[in-house]
Structures are given as C-alpha cells and as structure tokens.
C-alpha cells in the first residue's frame, strides 16, 4: 500500500480508531494484523516471505544467544542467510549479467536466462537490515525477544515497513510494553507530519522530478548550466521524496503512540560529506557505521585501514541502494570525498593558522557550498540509468565537454521550456526559496516537519491563528496539486 494513495488514507484512520478502542493487551496483535494487511495489499505471496524471514531470525536469535562453543559460527550463519536471501532477490539479475558479460568477454557462452521472474519484495532491504542488526546485538550480548508476536511486529510495523527508517529493536520493543494514552499533542503532530510529508512528496519532489527526468533523458541536448540545475533539482527531489516519506512514517507512528527515528536533519546545511551522511538517511548511515564500518575495524587500525573501511562501507552502501554499477560508483564517489575530507582534516590540524581559518563562519559557508556541489556531483551516478549516461553528464557538469549545443555552457536553456506548467522559468527562484526555507527551519527550535505555533496578539489575547491557517493551506494545496497517480517513492526501489 502506498502512503500517497487513497487506500492508505482510509486504512490509517481505520487502524487508528481500532487501535485506540482496543484494550492494551490486544494492541500488538492488532498492529501485527494491520501491518500484514498493509504489506499483502501489494502482493499477498510476499507476506509469507516476510513471515518466514521473521520466524527464521526469531529462532536464530535464540540459537546465537545459547551457542557457547561455536557462537561466532552460528552468528555468521545467521548473517549469511539474511544476506543470501537479500542477495537472491536484489542482486541475482545483476550478478547474472556481470558473469555473463565476463564470460562473453573471454569468449565463453553467456549464462542462460532465468526461467522465472524474480520480483524484488517491497522493503526487503530495510527489514533484512533490521534482522541483521538484531542478530548483531544478540551476538554482542543483548537478550533476544521472547514473544514471537512482538518480534514479528518489529520488522513489519507498517509505518516503517517499506522504506524505513531502519529501527533498533531495543528502542522499538519497549514501546510495545508501555501503555500509551492518545494525547492531543501526538495527534496534532502526527497529522501535521503526514500532511507535510505528503506536501514534500506530491508538491515538491514530484515537480522537481519533471525537470530531472527530462534533462537526464537528453543530457546531450542540454548545456552544463542545465545539468547543474537538474542536479540541484535531483538533490531536492531525493530529499523531499525520502524525507517526505519519513515524515509520513513518523506521523503515522506517532498517531499510534510510537516514536521512530528521525531520518533527516537538514542535510544540505552540512559542511562536509561526512556530515551530510550523518544528516541524510540517518538510520541507514548509523546502521552502516555500527554493523559494517566498526566490525571491519572502523578507524582503529591507522589511516590507510580507515580509508579502506570508509571506501568499502560507502561502496557497499551504494550497492544497497541498487544492483547496478552506477550505484556502486555513487557510493565510491562519496567514500572518496570522505577520504579526501579526512585527509584535509588531518592536514589543517597540523597548521594552526589554517585551523583558525577553518573555524571562521566564512569558511563554513564555503564548506557548505562545496559540500552541496560535491554531493550533487556524486548524484550523477545515482540518477543516471547507466554508466554511459553518467559519463556524458559528468563530462558536461565538469565542463570537459566542449561540444555543447549552439548555446553557451553557461546558458540555462531549459528555463525557456514551454511545458504544461511554469516550473521551468521559475526554477532558479524555486531553488533559492527552497534553500532559504532550510535556513529558516534551521533557526527553528521545533521538531523537524512541525511548524512553530505562532500566536496572534489580538485585543489583548494570544490567538493561535497561524497554525490552523497553515494546516488548512497545506490541505488545500495538496488537494489541488495531488495528481491522480503520483509516482511512487524513490526509496521503494531500494
């Protein structure tokens, strides 16, 4: 079921009402049933897959805990099983193609095609990562979850089921034990987060996508300036799409009295790629840190080993996003930027005068600017459908392609596109306004996604007029702008 569908707009209020009307002891089974309905609405067969994986990991958890002699082997087996299942669904075609191409390159016949179609189950990357986290924690000494029902709800909890945030069971399970009361604050914030998330997706992301799709469909036609505009748009599309999804997930969970991790924290105000990665898809970046980077040795084995670990973590993180070379390149590019930044940090710390400059706010502004552009450059690999397109775009955005069209490289020619709306000519203003909004939000003390409740001082009374007007405007804009068929969330494919 899609968050931006009418089905979900009916499903959520029904679950909400049933949940709060149900006695506490029946709430977990109710949520479990609702979560499976949510999942099986798409393809009922895959409900069995998630159930099977859940049962497997439930028993593996106990096995890992109880193993004394061969604990590491049992743990390794558990991790391997999860990785193999994820690998089969997500990477079978990729591996097949790579092996086939390699065979053809050395004059051998290509591998025969698969006789059955492998459909990637929605959200498998997310719930497999939650299982791996669970096994790691048990291996490190945590206690396994005794109740199968509670354990089954952990990966399947519908607000976070398809595209995260990736939860930690030690945060989630205790929330099932604490009887919650519905408060007005939870209700208001939950609904506001859902509305704001939908706004981000439907109004912002889906419209930025129009520019991105058209420019990447024809990178040969457009100028370097156009492609930079497209990259800015893609940066914002990705942010609004996924943070919008997360807001809806957070809002839905909050309506049921649950807190799920904050996944985004104004990433484009970051001063380095490492920082951006700490602010972007936080639940994934912390997962990669805790269950990949640190187990590989983290930064304890000297600089060279640290660089290796960073690169490996980021490349694997890239491939997690998709089974294709360009995703690996995306991760690798980010890793490379992180390594360069780490080297730069080591360097300037040896020069006190340089360190003083780095501490100034002018340097910070420059660093934010540079980081944003480095991030955009890495996105060339993420957005391009294949490596050929990626190179075409990369050459243009780095001004290495002199054979541009009749216009100069600096001319943003797409602004004159006579399309069905005025997105194109207004693009520079929209991009500037979007960035300015981030700066404003950064000044706010409120929870990300929740607007401050300004009060109007009228006849000596403080009237909270702003918030209802803001929410009403949000609703109206959503009704007007929401297309009948909004494209699905980008992160669903991961």
């Amino acid at each position: 079921m899609l968050f931006n569908s009418l089905a979900y707009m009916i499903f959520l209020p029904v679950v909400f009402l049933l949940y709060w009307k149900t006695p506490f002891k029946f709430r977990t089974p109710l949520l479990l049933i609702a979560s499976y309905v949510f999942y099986m609405y798409w393809k009922w067969e895959y409900g069995l897959l998630i159930l099977g994986l859940t049962a497997l990991n439930y028993f593996l958890g106990f096995w890992v805990e109880r193993a004394t002699v061969k604990k590491k082997l049992v743990f390794g087996l558990g991790i391997a099983l999860n990785v193999i299942i994820l690998g089969f669904f997500k990477y079978a075609y990729f591996v097949h193609d790579v092996v086939s191409d390699a065979a053809k390159a050395v004059g051998q016949p290509a591998l025969p095609n698969f006789t059955v179609e492998i459909i990637l189950p929605l959200g498998i990357s997310f719930f497999v990562f939650e299982f791996i986290h669970y096994l790691f924690e048990i291996y490190r000494g945590a206690k396994p979850v005794k109740s199968f029902m509670e354990f089954a709800l952990f990966p399947s909890f519908f607000p976070t089921q398809i595209a995260g945030p990736i939860k930690r069971y030690a945060d989630f399970i205790p929330q099932l034990h604490k009887e919650q009361k519905l408060t007005q604050k939870d209700f208001d914030e939950g609904v506001e987060l859902i509305l704001f998330g939908l706004f981000k997706k439907v109004v912002m992301a889906d419209n930025f996508a129009l520019v991105v799709n058209r420019c990447f469909a024809h990178p040969d036609l457009v100028t370097s300036a156009d492609l930079w505009l497209a990259l800015y748009c893609f940066a914002w599309q990705g942010y609004f799409d996924f943070s919008g999804y997360t807001d809806i997930a957070r809002g839905s969970a909050q309506l049921l009295g649950f807190k799920v991790p904050l996944n985004f924290n104004l990433p484009y105000l970051a001063g380095s790629i490492s920082e951006i990665w700490r602010r972007w898809h936080i639940s994934l970046s912390t997962w990669l840190r805790d269950y990949l980077f640190i187990p590989m040795g983290g930064s304890k084995g000297g600089e060279l080993l640290t660089y290796r670990n960073i690169m490996l973590t980021m490349i694997i993180g890239g491939f997690w996003h998709g089974a294709s070379l360009h995703y690996g390149f995306w991760g690798g590019t980010l890793g490379l930027f992180m390594v360069v930044h780490r080297g730069w940090q080591t360097f300037y710390k040896t020069k006190p005068w340089l360190e003083n400059i780095v501490k100034t706010k002018y340097y910070h502004v420059f660093a934010v600017f540079l980081t944003m552009h480095a991030w955009c450059l890495s996105l060339v690999f993420m957005r391009s459908p294949d490596m050929n397109v990626a190179w075409t775009v990369m050459k243009k955005v780095l001004f290495l392609d002199t054979a541009q069209n009749a216009l100069g490289w600096w001319q943003p020619s797409i602004l004159a596109t006579t399309d069905t709306n005025l997105l194109y000519p207004l693009l520079p203003f929209i991009l500037v306004a979007t960035y300015a909004m981030q700066l404003l939000v950064a000044k706010s003390k409120e929870i990300p996604g929740v607007m401050p409740n300004f009060k109007l001082n009228l006849f000596g009374k403080h009237i909270p007029a702003f918030k209802p007007a803001y929410l009403a405007a949000l609703l109206i804009v959503l009704f007007i702008w929401s297309p009948d068929f909004s494209p699905q969330f980008i992160y669903f494919q991961f």
Partner: protein, 413 residues
Amino acid sequence: MKNAFSLTNFLKQSPVAQAFILVAIINASLLYFNPLQKLDPQAIVSNRTWAWWAVKDFRENPSDVIMMGSSFIMNPTWQEEAVYRKQSVDLVVDHRTTYLEDAIKSRALVPQNLRCFNFGLPGAMVSDQAMIVETMCQGPQKPKMAIFCVAPRDLMDCRFFNAGGSKHFRYLTNFTENKQAKDLAFMDVPGKFADWFSNALFFKNKSNEIQTLRANALKSVMQPYLATLPPSPLNQNSEEDRRSVFKRDEIEKGAWLAHPNTPYWYVNSSPDCRMRYKHLNSQVFENQKIWLDKALKTCKERGVKAVVVNVPSSPEARECMFPGIYERHVEAVTTITKANDIPFYNLDPGWKHEQKDYTDWGHMGPQGGSKMLNAIASIVAGNQELVTALNSPSNNNSANRKVAESEGKQDAL
C-alpha cells in the same frame, strides 16, 4: 506527563481540528457559490493524456469514420500506417488511418475524400468507447460511422474495476453533463467513495481548472521575463525524451512514433494475459454490457451508423482465458447488437492466426494490422447500409473542417 485525549477539548484546542473545520467551511462556500467558470477541457493543459490528444486531433480533423477500441486496435493500425505511408507517424498527434480509407475505397464506391480516424486508446474499455460516442459523435464533428472494435478483455479485464476509474473516461466526462453516464461509472464501494470524495471537495474536483487559471495568470505576468530567455532544446520533439519523463498519464508529441522499417517480434507476456483473464469478473462484465448497449443506442439516436467487430483473439490469449469468458463474450455482444439492430462481425471464425502477426498475446504488429484492417474494410464494403451511410452528404465535413481548423488555431493561440 501526557494529558488524556478528550473530544471536547480537542475541537477547541487542536490546530488540526480547526484547520479541517476551516477547510470544510471554505469548501462548502466554494461548492455553493462555484466561482470558477467551466473551462473548455482542451484548455486544461495539465491533462495532456492520450484522450486529450485524440480529442484535440479529432476536433481539428473531423472524420467520416471513427474506429474505436483499446491498444489492440490502436497499435496495429498506427504501426501499419507508418509502413503504408513509408514515413514515421506520430500517434500522439496523427490519428488518421489512410490505410483503412484506401482499403474501403478500393472495395466500395465511397467518396474519395473519405477520412478514417483511429480512436483506439490504450487500456480502453467499452465504457470508454461509449464515452467517445457520447461526447464526440455530435455537433460539427459528428462522424457518419462508428466502428466498435471489441475483444473479450474490453468488457471484463480483471485489472479493471470501474468505468469511471479509466483516465480516458474521466477526461471525456468533462465534455458532458449526462448524469446517467456518471451514475453508471462506479460500481464498487471504493470507486463510489473515491468519486464522492473527489466531487465533494471543490479543490480536488476543480484542481485542473485552478492549475490552468493559475498558470495562465502567472504566464501573462512573467511574459517580459520569458521573452528574454533563449530557446529551450527540450522543446524539440524527440522520441525517447518524451516517453517516460512526464507524470504517468501525460504524453507529448514525439513520444510514440511508429517508423516504417521497425522490425517487430513476438514477446511472450502470458503472465499479463493470465492476470487480465484470471476470472469471469462478472460485475465489470455486466456493467460493460450496459455501456455497449448505451453506446449503440446513442449512435442510433444521433444517426451515426454503428458496426461492432470482434477482433481476433490469439491462441495464446484463448489459452490464458478463464473457462467460459470467450463464449460469454460472443454471446453477450451478439445479443446486444441484435437487440439494437446493429451489425456484428466476429473475425475469429476462419481467422488464420500466425505468431508473426502479433507482438504479444493480444497486440498485433503492422502485418496483423494490415490483415485486420482489410477484414474491417471488407465488412464495410460488404454491407450496403454502411456504404450508403458513407455516401450520405449529411455532415458537410469540408465546412466542418474549416470550422474546426479555426477552432484549432484558436486553441494553439
């Protein structure tokens, strides 16, 4: 410490509740006063779907014959047209089928300026065909003949739920106030609810009009700035640029070009076929039967000669079908056409099926298209009533074309 939820306090204190009440008041006022004038659906630029383009072409180029159906008709007719004309044909803007025109002219004595229009739309059901008849077969562009091409899926596709859920149908409803048609549009509860929801919300119901008016207003304000911009390369009509880049239902010129020398081959897509013919889908079938009956009656009332043709179902399609679908289909179409005294031709008996005629389980390529169009031309030529209809001077098409051309120019402005 969290406060317990209380409904009384909730309405007084919750900004969310207040916002919803505010929206409800604004919505009720707008529904009551309805300040937006009705726009010509063709002016709603945010709606450039298949149906939008086909209607635009049809209004600008009134035709004597319209041939309706799903992509089973649309694709082979268009692909064969490119082969026949020996040039690329852009289906988005060019729906004329000169192949059918010449095939009819070579078999019967009909006017030399006969024009045939390919009104096939992807995924179209019989209800969409009925809506085309309801909205297009009147006024200056009324055709002399309507050919209803139906395959079993057009009346019962298991991936289809409500006539009103079709994007073609939704667009075409903008041209009519026919309440009966709207009442038939939704059968199931989610469909009825979605329809009610959409109609009850002014902002949802009028979203296209609001977006169009807003865009027009902004455009006029920004004209001085827009005039300074260099020409955009993205305005070029290139094929691959257009296909996947718009919102899902929108298409643009150049997105669907058929080329004369494109090789076509058969792709096995039987899972899709099985999905569509998974079960009898009686609810949809019964509803579509009513639409067929209604469409034929409308043709008779308006003096448009109708003919129903059952397009061939490939052996692969017949294998995929749930038992009884095909027989039920033929029987129902026979009964309805007989009751309305409309000729019905089933192309299946005696049809020589060859896999090279098809590109998948249901769609023919240009070669299959040629066979099918020849069969349809023979049907028309062999039926004296149809030939007489084509020879009737009633619609004064040349005058109509001039009117439509001037309308088209106004649209373009």
